[in-house]
Amino acid sequence: MNTEIPLSEAKPGQTLRINRLELDGTMRRRLLDLGFIPGADVHILRKSPLGDPVALRVSNTTIALRVEESSRIFGEVLGE
């Protein structure tokens, strides 16, 4: 029933469970180090005043990602 969407399309207030990262190299490693790992939950906190980047809660910390990265992280929205 749940469908997979990119993190960039999740709305503030929603929580996404990560399925996969479509990134390679250093950026993938860095995101993994920050806790963006398959199976982890990401809570979308809010957008920056100019619409991008977006603040996210992952592994109990707040990390901001630009749309270039968040559009390549895919997962399913958990029940609100």
């Binding site: 490693r29 993994l32 920056s48 980047p53 809660r57």
Partner: protein, 470 residues
């Protein structure tokens, strides 16, 4: 390199190489995820056992505060308000201690002069040491110290509170648009203190292209040595027409306008460079927004005040003192009718006039190359026929000196603009060379701001004159 290695080392290198390719052949795309995933699971299971939360709501206080401080509606107004309040505090608070310091130095100078007379010291020695050296130092100290002792503790409080990453978060899109790095706003914040230190801080930007953008544009943030120039000129000339109760506000508004203009120029120059000499797309990065923390108030204030005061005093002794001496010498050695100083001024004057400045101002900027702190003192010294830096106890007297030399609001405005935009100080240029190891980029970091300063002041002067505003 390789041929200097002995056979044993070579064979070990070969072993490592083959080991590496063996390992690589075993690597699967998923193994990285698995390794990191396993570490995270271990962390989580350990945390589940040893950490207990009494109230999960308390954890998200920072998020609630972010909801206001980085909100679509309030994010930018609050950011501007904070900048405005800090500048206003600096201006409102620095006046009294500044004139107190100046009075103290003046009082002390009387005794020093008496001392010189008592030992029958020659006039030139008194001129050199007291009118040149001593006044050079006291000028810098009394004009620079109080604003810095207010601005930097206030800034440090915001920094320790955790506000700066939020500024980077709010501004990120603008920097992305201009091709720069999101962390450029953090290096700019460092620039408020000292551009030379900020050049070192650009190391937090890893991409060489974006780091170069941050280096080349850092100077458009007014530093320690330029704040007082901006504050003094805007209070003397720009805010003069405003009702007296509102003058501090008007001064603060103008200084803030200058800062914002500097930000606009930073974005513009970054954008132009990233379309031309430094082509490329912004690299990936992540930005952490750490929890807000209540700063230790007195601790932060005292530390920032002491650090900045020591820094200012050191600069005063190292740079301002010799500059005071040199300026005094230039003003007191005569070739024909005029002193060397006046010859230089006469030479620079026509070009300076086109920029809405005058020869003295341009000379002060050139002689002030080692440190921006000494630009105003050199200018004052140039203006006074005695050839020594004047004591400035009274702001009205100070303004009168400027007016006597034909200043208008345009002169003040353009001197502020030139100060904001012109080439970095000597220390900064040395740091840029050390960091880039490139004469070309060091030269460009001199040339770009200089071109901007000349271009902008020229345009402003021509428009103002053409429209008959002056």
């Amino acid at each position: 390199m390789e041929q200097t290695l002995n056979p044993l080392t070579q064979s070990k290198h070969k072993q490592l190489d083959s080991l590496f390719s063996e390992a690589e052949s075993m690597t699967e795309p998923s193994s990285r995820d698995e390794i990191v995933g396993q570490i995270f699971r271990a962390s989580k299971s350990i945390c589940d056992e040893v950490v207990h939360y009494q109230d999960r709501q308390k954890l998200h206080r920072s998020e609630k505060l972010d909801h206001i401080l980085t909100s679509r509606t309030w994010g930018f107004p609050i950011m501007l308000a904070m900048l405005g309040v800090i500048i206003w505090l600096t201006i409102a608070g620095a006046n009294v201690p500044s004139s107190m310091l100046a009075e103290t130095f003046g009082w002390l100078e009387g005794y020093i002069t008496l001392g010189f007379q008592a030992i029958h010291a020659p006039d030139w020695l008194h001129g050199l040491l007291v009118l040149g050296l001593y006044r050079g130092i006291s000028w810098v100290v009394s004009v620079m110290l109080p604003p810095m002792a207010i601005f930097f503790p206030a800034f440090a409080l915001l920094e320790n509170f955790g506000y700066l990453p939020r500024v980077a978060f709010n501004m990120d899109r603008l920097f992305k648009r201009s091709g720069g790095h999101g962390k450029q706003s953090l290096t700019m914040a460092m620039g408020f203190g000292c551009n030379a230190a900020a050049i070192m801080s650009t190391r937090i930007i890893e991409s060489p292209r974006e780091r170069m953008l941050a280096i080349l544009t850092n100077n458009f943030v007014p530093c320690n040595g330029r704040w007082p120039t901006l504050i003094l000129l805007s209070s003397l000339f720009m805010a003069a027409g405003v009702a007296s109760g509102l003058q501090t506000f008007a001064t603060a508004a103008i200084v803030m306008g200058m800062v914002l203009f500097g930000v606009v120029i930073t974005l513009l120059v970054s954008w132009i460079l990233s379309k031309t000499a430094l082509k490329g797309v912004p690299t990936h990065y992540t930005l952490e927004l750490p929890p807000y923390r209540r700063p230790k108030f007195w601790n932060t204030v005292i530390r920032a005040t002491l650090d900045k005061s020591l820094f200012t005093l050191k600069r005063a002794v190292i740079v301002a003192a010799p500059a005071g001496v040199i300026t005094w010498i230039l003003a007191n050695i005569f070739i024909g009718e005029l002193s060397i100083l006046e010859h230089i001024v006469a030479f620079l004057d026509p070009f300076a006039r086109a920029l809405g400045l005058d020869g003295f101002i341009l000379m002060a900027f050139i002689l002030g190359m080692p440190a921006n702190e000494i630009v105003l003192p050199i200018l004052m010294m140039g203006y006074l026929s005695t050839g020594a830096m004047t004591e400035v106890e009274d702001m009205a007297a100070l303004k009168q000196i400027f007016l006597d030399h034909g200043w208008t609001w345009l002169t003040a405005l353009n001197m502020m603009l030139f100060s904001l935009l012109h080439y970095p100080c000597g220390t900064t240029l040395i740091n840029i060379y050390k960091e880039t190891k490139s004469p070309k980029w060091t030269f460009l970091s001199f040339a770009i701001p200089t071109a901007m300063a000349i271009g902008v002041t020229f345009t402003v002067a021509q428009v103002a004159r053409g429209m008959g505003w002056v």
